[in-house]
Amino acid sequence: MKYLSEYRNLEATKKYLDEIHKITTRNWNVMEICGGQTHSLVKNGILDLLPEKVRMIHGPGCPVCVTPLNLIDKAIELLENNVIVCSFGDMIRVPGSKRSLLEAKASGGDLRILYSPIEAVSIAKENPDKEVVFFAVGFETTAPANALSVLHAEKEGITNYSILASHVLVPPAMEAILDDELCNIDAFLGAGHVCAIMGMQEYYPLVKKYEIPIVITGFEPLDMVQGIYMAVKQLEEGRHALENQYARVVKEHGNKAAINVIGKVFEVGDREWRGIGEIPNSGYVIREAYRKYDAEAKFGIGNIKVPENSSCIAGEILRGIKKPNQCNQFGKTCTPSNPLGAPMVSSEGACAAYFHFSDNLISS
């Protein structure tokens, strides 16, 4: 099993595309949850290969995009106060209310770009005189590693490490979207890697309550078209069920070890979503027992409220109400080098995907 070449195979993908064309008789709106899935659709040119009646709506599954603006400001404040701030790469270009982490780095802030939060714990060990904070952003996918870093620090007796956490959960976001009166979504492609961690159990109630098909889908081009095919087939047949296209990675009960680790350090709490607002019980907060690893508590940088740029319509983009090229600023005052909001900067953002990969001149 190679997983790369097989799931990028032209013949197999074509077969599924042909099948989608064959079975589609009506207009359907299918939302892919994950930003990585949006990118796959645009990057592989799949949108133009689908029948016109199948409209893909881009979902809020871009962790960078939904991280509240004030969190970036908090991270910058830490940098300005001599804290070593460690972050995943794609957070650093997102503009806060005044500037981005990258700009703060250029002004002298000690910002380190890492692949793994465990590296941040090592940095804390190597710099005992400085505070080290890991900017712990993401959906359920990155929560286990972030939780592990806290447990690791605890085990090693490292006290100069903490995380600035902003974890959000997919199922509450889906409910918020489905409860929105402007929602016109007929089926979902579930976020493959989130489900690799959490399993499938949380999605059965959604299927039942909203009578909506959910197909947990991967990211390669063949995954995407197979997932879309499975969703459209359910719709055409008038069914609604939870199906797993990404079976090679997603198991019914998820990754138990990861779920345990998350549960040790985090508990579910209310969370603010940039562009959407506060959704109750939609994110992870650090448990009382680990409060000393919570950077917001440690540094007292709790309540900064920051207004969004009024011309950015990220909220409508993230809820699938508008497409990036329907935004007046898209490509004009809002570009990747001059982003007004997160979806244009993040490598998972719908606006960035459209800007980089798509163009009205080549579509249709």
Binding site: L4, T13, N44, F88, D90, R93, G138, S358, D359
Partner: protein, 341 residues
């Protein structure tokens, strides 16, 4: 060289002061290593003869780590500039060589790098004819920076200019992309693969010379896709010539290990730096012959014709994906950053 000959095992500020310590460093390492009639004059500059037009190119090298799998900063500093001169359709002859060394660099490392410069220069058939060495305080550099400026004689049959590019011209890539960038990234991230990815830094001037001998002005442009990768160079070209570029993803030469490394690190190989690879934009009629000629050379054995210049979608590069869809290939903005998930 026995480092005690210099009385110290690290470079210090005295070595850049212009006094006897500098002279000592130059005599015992630089002049001794290169030992050519130009440098042996030990003058402020050198006088050389050229026939016809001269191509000049300069580049600075700040790579970290300075030693990596497949090469080091010294080799890079020669190959990079030699190749840039070759991209002008010229035969590189001479290089200037300027070092900015951070106080504390081990003399053994400095010597290794100078030796690498010498070896790479010999392989490329160029001579180092003038140079400079400065030392900056600890913390004000990053071990060592190098600048090289290359001088070459324009090949008599060369007519290299973006203005010569026509609709229908074919776009050819000389080998596997993303090799150098991923060699560096893998080393930085401490990733180990079954067989290590090595930088492909090498000089391509002789191959370019052979191509010019055979195909002359039917080659319209050479470019080497260093920083920013293949995507950025193609985007620049499309904008500069105000025409469209269309390429096919399945024709882009990409080695398996490098593809895997890119996947793991969340990087797009189209934007990763290359060193030993170049693009040739050639008249359609000779494209097949150019590909064959390049493949018969060791440095072009993985050559592939990846696309063509078109009158559709001017200023844009459009790539047909592996599954037959289309996407725009836009230029790199800022740096490619490792992704969250």
């Amino acid at each position: 060289m026995d480092t005690t000959e210099l009385g110290s095992d690290t470079i210090n500020l005295g070595h850049g002061s212009g006094g006897t310590m500098t002279r000592d460093l130059l005599d015992k390492i630089i002049f001794k290593t290169f030992n050519n009639p130009y440098l042996n004059q030990k003058h402020d500059g050198s006088i050389v003869k050229f026939n016809g037009d001269i191509a000049i190119s300069t580049d600075s090298f700040v790579i970290s780590p300075i030693f990596f799998k497949g090469g080091d900063i010294g080799e890079l500093a020669v190959n990079g500039t030699v190749n840039d001169v070759a991209m002008c359709g010229a035969i590189p002859k001479f290089l200037s060589l300027a070092f900015i060394v951070e106080e504390g660099l081990a003399i053994s490392d400095f010597t290794k790098i100078v030796n690498s410069v010498k070896m790479a220069a010999d392989k490329s058939g160029v001579q180092i004819i003038t140079g400079d060495t400065k030392v900056v305080e600890r913390g004000k550099g990053d071990k060592i920076f190098i600048n090289t400026t290359g001088f070459g004689e324009v090949h008599p049959k060369a007519s290299i200019s973006a203005d010569n590019i026509k609709i229908g011209d074919k776009i050819i890539v000389s080998g596997f992309i993303a090799q150098h960038g991923m060699a560096i990234m893998s080393q930085r991230e401490g990733l180990e693969f079954e067989s290590t990815i090595e930088s492909d830094t090498t000089n391509v001037n002789f191959l370019v010379n052979d191509l010019l001998d055979t195909f002359g002005n039917k080659i319209h442009l050479f470019r080497d896709p260093t920083r920013g990768g293949l995507a950025s160079v193609l985007s620049e070209i499309a904008t500069d010539i105000n025409k469209g570029v269309t390429i096919s993803e399945k024709r882009i030469p990409l080695e398996k290990q490098v593809a895997a490394a890119c996947e793991i690190l969340g990087l797009d190989p189209m934007y990763v730096a290359n060193e030993g690879v170049f693009i040739a934009i050639v008249e359609a009629g000779v494209a097949d012959a150019v590909v064959q000629a390049m493949r018969s050379n060791e440095k072009g054995k993985n050559t592939s014709c990846i696309g063509e210049v078109t009158d559709e979608h001017p200023n844009k590069v459009v790539m047909k994906s592996l599954i037959g869809g289309k996407r725009i290939v836009s230029p790199l903005i800022g740096e490619q950053l490792p992704r969250i998930c």
